[in-house]
């Protein structure tokens, strides 16, 4: 390797970034006290980190180029992680430990931890739902949060007006979200991929803005308070007991989601979604109805967001439009992209990493969205298939 050439490149890039970030990172104007703050240390940080970062960047690009030539994408080539996972001697004990951990979690840790875990599990569910739309069917939906809002507001409003409980609303919200998916999906699904992304983003924002402005319907920006927590046969529960209960409700819902999504994925419908993602024209030429297939993906994806919304409303007991911004959709997209589009295990790990890390690394939480942004770009550049690659199912045949 040409060390001098590489050093020179890194120096140039480092100098370029110091120039680029100079006004915004170094100078800060305090317009109240009319003073200017010069933060030269930021320039030093940028210089050093881009010097190292650009070398890493070039190294990763060259690695990626090499691996593309070898093309390790055949289903026989699983990652070591996946191999370990499919080894029964390893799999069963691991599963056993995992189940033990999941069951004992709320008793071992504080309520604060349990609450964080509930949030993480909601994101697992949202991630798995969006994964149907983005990962399997290849439709970039940037308005997914709208269905989450539909779920949350269904519970909030149905409870407020008619006193409906958590368990009654859960299926209703799922159905309403699915209907909303069909309603919003129908007119836009003919659009090409990038337009679809923008239109769904538009729909998501429209729903949020309507919730904010249509006070008589949604109670406006102040939102709906005093939403009851999940109930169990009318038993009175303390806050702690209820949190533990909600945790197990969420575990149950996530297991249900995994079960359904896994079955859908390996079915006639699931195959049609993937084929649609791979090549729309060829897919239609194989006799698959494009609109119908897209609509089922949209509706079935929305269903989970609807249910997630109900749990969210029940957990926080308060909802307002501020929880349903476009960036929420982007976070869920990050989960799917990081984990691995189309891979259930990938999406679960993506959701846990992205929701738990910022909680436990407090210093990191301020930089959360910044890092998500970097992550989206670098995942697309270096590993578009995500942490865990979706492995296709294999079949064995005996020759007769």
């Amino acid at each position: 390797m040409n060390v001098r050439g590489e050093l020179k490149k890194s120096f140039q890039i480092s100098a370029w970034f110091m120039f680029l970030t100079f006004p915004i990172l170094v100078i800060r104007v305090n317009t109240v006290e009319n003073v200017i703050e010069w933060r030269w240390y930021n320039m030093a940080i940028v210089g050093v980190s881009t010097f190292l970062g650009s070398a890493l960047w070039r190294y990763l690009l060259s690695v990626k180029e090499k691996s593309q030539r070898i093309n390790a994408a055949s289903p026989g080539n699983m990652t070591s992680f996946q191999k370990a996972f499919s080894d029964k001697r390893f799999f069963y004990p691991a599963l056993f430990i995992l189940i033990g951990f999941v069951i004992s979690f709320p008793f071992l840790f504080s309520m604060y931890q349990a609450n964080i875990m509930i949030t993480a599990l909601i994101y697992v569910m949202l991630g798995l739902g969006l994964n149907i739309v983005v990962g399997l069917a290849g439709l970039l939906d940037l308005g997914y949060v709208a269905f989450y809002a539909v779920g949350a507001y269904s519970y909030g409003l149905l409870n407020f007006h008619f006193g409906l409980g958590f368990w009654t609303t859960l299926p209703i919200a799922a159905i309403l979200a699915a209907l909303a998916g069909i309603l919003l999906g129908y007119p836009v699904l003919r659009l090409r991929g990038d337009y679809l992304a923008i239109v769904t983003l538009g729909f998501g924002e429209i729903i949020r803005l309507v919730l904010e402005n249509w006070g008589e319907f949604s109670h406006g920006p102040s939102g709906i308070a005093n939403i009851p927590r999940p109930s169990l046969l009318g038993i009175d529960m303390t806050l702690t007991q209820n949190t533990i209960f909600t945790y197990f409700v969420m575990i149950g819902l996530v297991l249900f989601t995994i079960f359904v999504v896994n079955r859908l994925q390996n079915s006639r419908i699931g195959r049609a979604w993937i084929a649609l993602r791979e090549d729309e024209i060829a897919c239609q030429a194989m006799g698959i109805d494009r609109t119908r297939t897209k609509l089922t993906a949209f509706a079935l994806g929305a269903t989970w967001a609807g249910m997630g919304g109900v749990v969210f409303a029940a957990k926080t007991t308060f909802i307002n439009p501020a929880s349903f911004t476009i960036w929420e959709s982007v976070i869920i997209l990050c989960i799917v992209v990081l984990g691995g589009m189309g891979s259930i295990l990938g999406v679960i790990s993506g959701a846990l990493v992205l929701t738990l890390l910022p909680e436990y690394l407090r210093a990191f939480s301020e930089y959360r969205m910044l890092i998500f942004g970097i992550m989206l770009v670098s995942m697309m550049v270096f590993r578009p298939e995500g942490i865990i690659r979706n492995v296709r199912r294999t079949y064995t045949f005996s020759k007769e």
Binding site: L264, S267, A285, M286, R392
Partner: protein
């Protein structure tokens, strides 16, 4: 006997450009018909009109199977496939990240019916249907000679095998008429020879009529029953291989004004 495919004065305009001009074409049951002509003559556009990707500007397309004659104009591509016309693509359009078997299983989609609830609950009917889809698809792969690749991703197949997989996938839709768009493009001589046998074999064993676009004249002359020659969207000749080889209009279209050049 009634033709399987009957195209009457089909015209296709793109803005001011007439890509196909009053084209008539017939394909009889179990016939292999070739559509040849210089690049840009409108052959692929013709396929796109038949399969519903484009809506023709004028003219009629009829498909007759089992004594029923249906007009195909304006049907969506998936409906056309359902009626019994399958196709391959000139620039291979496989589902790259799916396995070879799954590619063929997609072809079975329009002949199966299990839905969302079936997928979730996996009832007996769905399970049986799924098993049948797998075994049918495997049989097609065996027939086409791709069974050793079943679990490979489509993108990892050698080029010739990808072309064959396109044919396998099209066959899985149980067509009465198969449209092949340059099936031999980029193949070596041995592969072309095998393809030649495969196409004839499909016609003989499955009773499927075949309409193909091809530039490899040896292949066309060997297997076609009849040939249509088009240039600038117009039909300039029609006949059996011998007639076409002797037709002065065809020679002119292929070699230009001066045959010595």
């Amino acid at each position: 006997m009634e033709p399987v495919l009957e195209v009457n004065s089909l015209t296709m305009d793109f803005g001011g450009l007439r890509a196909i001009d009053q084209l008539n074409l017939r394909v009889m049951p179990s016939e292999i018909v070739a559509l040849i002509g210089p690049n840009g003559a409108g052959k692929t556009t013709f396929f796109n009109c038949i399969t519903g990707i484009y809506t023709p500007s004028a003219g009629d397309i009829f498909l007759s199977v089992n004594g029923r004659r249906e007009r195909l104009n304006g049907l969506k591509p998936n409906r056309v496939t359902q009626k019994g016309i399958a196709r391959t693509f000139q620039n291979i359009r496989l589902f790259q990240n799916m396995t070879v078997l799954e590619n063929v299983m997609i072809g079975r989609h329009c002949r199966t019916s299990s839905g969302i609830l079936g997928a979730i609950f996996r009832d007996r009917r769905t399970r049986l249907e799924e098993e049948k889809v797998v075994s049918d698809s495997y049989k097609i792969l065996e027939k086409i000679g791709l069974d050793r690749f079943v679990n490979e991703l489509a993108m990892n197949l050698p080029y010739g095998a990808q072309r064959r997989l396109e044919i396998a996938r099209a066959l899985a839709t149980e067509p009465f008429l198969l449209l092949l768009d340059e099936p031999a493009a980029g193949m070596n001589q041995k592969e072309t020879q095998e393809l030649d046998e495969l196409i004839v074999n499909i016609r003989d064993t499955e009773n499927i009529s075949i309409l193909l676009i091809e530039h490899d004249m040896k292949l066309v002359m060997r297997i076609s029953d009849r040939i249509y020659v088009v240039d600038y969207g117009k039909k300039i000749a029609r006949g059996n291989p011998l007639e076409i080889q002797r037709n002065p209009a065809v020679i002119k279209a292929y070699l230009g004004e001066d045959p010595d050049a």
